[in-house]
Assembly symmetry: C2
Homo-oligomer: 377 residues x 2
Amino acid sequence: MERRTFLRAGLGGVAAAGLTAPLASGLLLADRGSTRWRIAAEPIRLSSNENPLGLSDAAREAVIASLGEANRYPGPYRQAVIDALAAKHEVRPEQIVLGAGSTEILQMAVQARGPNATVIVADPTFEDVPRYAERIGIRVEKVPLRADYSHDLERMREVAARSSGPVLVYICNPNNPTGTVTPSSEIDAWIEEAPESIQFVVDEAYYEYAADPRYRSAQRWVYTKPNVLVVRTFSKIYAMAGMRLGYAVAHSGTAEHLARWAAANNANTLALIAARASLGDREFERKSLEVNRRGREILTKCLDELGLEHLPSHTNFVMHRINGDLPTYNRRMEEHGILVGRPFPPMVTHSRVSIGLPEEMERFAETLRMFRKRGWV
Amino acid sequence: MERRTFLRAGLGGVAAAGLTAPLASGLLLADRGSTRWRIAAEPIRLSSNENPLGLSDAAREAVIASLGEANRYPGPYRQAVIDALAAKHEVRPEQIVLGAGSTEILQMAVQARGPNATVIVADPTFEDVPRYAERIGIRVEKVPLRADYSHDLERMREVAARSSGPVLVYICNPNNPTGTVTPSSEIDAWIEEAPESIQFVVDEAYYEYAADPRYRSAQRWVYTKPNVLVVRTFSKIYAMAGMRLGYAVAHSGTAEHLARWAAANNANTLALIAARASLGDREFERKSLEVNRRGREILTKCLDELGLEHLPSHTNFVMHRINGDLPTYNRRMEEHGILVGRPFPPMVTHSRVSIGLPEEMERFAETLRMFRKRGWV
């Protein structure tokens, strides 16, 4: 940690936000099994669906300019972000709830349903919701994804129908770890008919990356349906995963109820300042999508070339086959300076790789080709 | 917000961490009721017990050097801080639980007791614990402080004894908003005899400021008593209130149970980096205490001079009489560019003023003297 920090410090602030930062701040390393020296970012992190660009210039400058406020509680900074989010989503400020990352919103949603709830999730999906429920004794029902890796809403409806007590239906759309979308029209049809005892939590962490015409936000429902909660994050498109800021958009009564489970001052001062500077930065949003598109192209070209099946990605990661044992694959990747996604059972024949910078994806592709030569994938 | 940010930015980063920053970054303002121009920090924040120094130089430099990591989830940075805290407190790493501020720890402690718990708190004390309990329907029993503003442990014991179900006893020591200490020997005596159904949460947010010989940390108990939880924060002595980092020290089983109510990735990357740089920075700790001592001297001298009774402070704030209506007093202070503490009923004859920089306390004292001349205090 100290070493990387030191190296990045040496570069000066702004450079590290640019495309070439991880390479520029990398070390000259001997590649294992080679005598050629190369620049590497030691290791390349393709493991957590982080936006490799780093903070936008505007966010970075705002944070540096505001470091003198890091000793001040975030209170005065909250409202500006809430107001900007309300304007963005065309809702009233009281319909926005902030969280220390969208994961805190997910936790609040689970807790707000109470100990007798049933939580219905896809399998596999983002683990935080079932984890929050299970560890405090709330029942979780896992419904396998359909063959096309969309949510099996039909079966989820059946499970909901036979559940007594409050129900929480978690729909991660696009879904993590598969990157696939569930058609919005199907979700809408269920929401339209569902009783209010079913709380829908639609996690749209990857919203901005989705380009499928069958996909749209569920936020249209928050005006009329108190049982719909839309969850968004600054972690992905705005590259703020380390700063912890996410939010819910909901009916105002739902938002008020949800906020009872929020920690006080949950959004930190610097995150709020970075968020305010990031919101509406179309140039940075465009750059994030463009870098993601370029990285995904390099990646899928390589996967196609090697005949490794991959799921259609509407996110900043790709789920693909690996032809072999997943823990062994992950360990070998790590030995070659690349961190890829954790296992997502039951999909143990697949690896989730996050899309880094184009240079990083070239390095990943090169490594994967070498793995093929060695018969490892 | 933008205006202050801009002004501070103009100063460059490091200067703003020094003693004179708020004045240097202030504006030339005409004082109301005067033709004299003065430098003011617009407004001076003496309202939230923040450490006016701002981040330590080491923390500031580490944060700037690590801004390129703000897009990375905090996972890799957690262990270094946990290990450092374990070493500091002479416990095992699994006895440390991190929170997004110590308030998240307080929330976790309340939630971990379950819906049938009784939460026993002093009156007045820090409001977050009763607030977390009440808003999710957990019963709260408030026990007035004794005449010397220490916790009335005898009456709290009586309330605990007649409570059925799990009990949480919250002891804020030194206490916010009074600044007073409860003798540790009395707390120890209760802990020693108490059944395990009573969970003690000892909030030591102001630990470093306490100089009373009757005061010591309750952490000695975490080795043997699973029902004792000690809560600390980086907000005060390390001036990190805006960054949100606090923690619990507890028996390992208790820590593991508590963590089930933690939000994932609750401590953010920059806070962890600042914490690692701050921990053990004796020079900054000393400076924080010294600035606090100087500010308190200016403040108490003025209060004594005006005959305004004040409570003995073992914190970075002072509770004092105001001779008049509290909302009117707060409004007038605000009109004169100074924010003081919120009302803490039932002590509505008192104001809590946080200790800012010596220059800020001179300004506060001058304002208070002017209030006296006008017959307002």
